[in-house]
Amino acid sequence: MYELIIVGGGPAAISAGIVSARKKIKTLVIADSFGGQWIMAGDIQNFIGTKSVSGFNLAKNLESHLKAQEGIEVKQAAVLKITKKGAGFSIEIDKGETFEAKTVLIASGSGHRKLNIPGEKEFEGKGVFYCATCDAPLMKDRAVAVVGGGNSAFESAISLLDYASKIYVLDRAEILKADEINQEKVRNSGKAEIIAGVSITEIFGDKMVSGLKYQSCDGGEIKELAVEGIFISISRIANNEIVNGLVEVNQAGEIIVDPKTQKTSVDGIWAAGDVTDVLYKQGNVAIGDGMKAALNIYSYLRIDNKK
């Protein structure tokens, strides 16, 4: 029986793991990979204390910092289900094993969301991409579109600046959410065009993508863009399947937490990072929230329950 099982391997989970190991809480971290979304992030310029670091290297640093903690146990596997068992919880993993713990921290993050429009599935990998860091270099001297208006969409556009001949950024919102510094870099590049307040209706092509259709959100005529690459970076979906029906979630499927403690609706379960209803889905925030959760779990295990 562990005192704490942490599910996830991203910034939130790793921060919580380091704190709990230092508090000598008997902890197991179960994750199917380490580093989280930062594996795919290009150049990170807002990781506090570091001017610029590649997401891949930062992910590696997080993993080695976690694994360097004395006494921490780490298991590489996917968690399938978490259920209540006695005074604690039972965690089932893909290899058929189960583990038990007094408390659980869910830090399973988020996955990419699809547009769910005709052509998207058919052309996945054939011009439809979800990771600009990976696939931007294939778009040398080609026209591309980025779908989304947040930081990750603009970071995708920035990675494409070095390769693509023309970049369209399309977003549903009229006012884009991305940091001004990212928007400026794209706007001032001379090869980008921002089309706000529109939705993509179809992706088309022969063997590979040759274009997309879009329409302004208030109706209006359907227009076409000739592009060979479409990079989809819209808001993400919380990875909540493992606690389906167990804890309360909001309409978007994000786990509802108390922002002071990261507690969920179920006594003994905490959540942190992008899987929660936290307003800002950022690595730095996930690290802070993971730390908050671990400190509160420590109080719960060692102080509150001893009174």
Binding site: I39, G55, G125, C131, C134, D135, P137, L138, S159, Y163
Partner: protein, 79 residues
């Protein structure tokens, strides 16, 4: 000895992971940077029918993405 080719880009994290994995297993491979090399890019698209990286060619078995179980199978590392 298996003939292993990897089609990759310099920025792609999953390419890096696939290369690290091959190196860990002591397997030699040829790397083709499809960003700079149009001929390699064409070859990769022909073999895999798509453009995402990495693509691995292990003695003719084509694997798209960093997929450890598939790599193990093709490399016959399965115990």
């Amino acid at each position: 000895m298996k003939m292993v080719k990897i089609y990759s880009t310099q920025t792609c994290p999953y390419c890096e992971m696939a290369k690290e994995y091959l190196a860990e297993q002591g397997i030699k491979y040829e790397n083709y940077d499809v960003a700079g090399d149009e001929a390699a890019r064409k070859e990769m698209v022909e073999k895999s029918g798509q453009m995402g990286v990495p693509v691995l060619d292990i003695d003719g078995t084509i694997i798209v993405g960093f997929n450890k179980p598939e790599m193990e199978k093709a490399l016959k590392l399965n115990k």
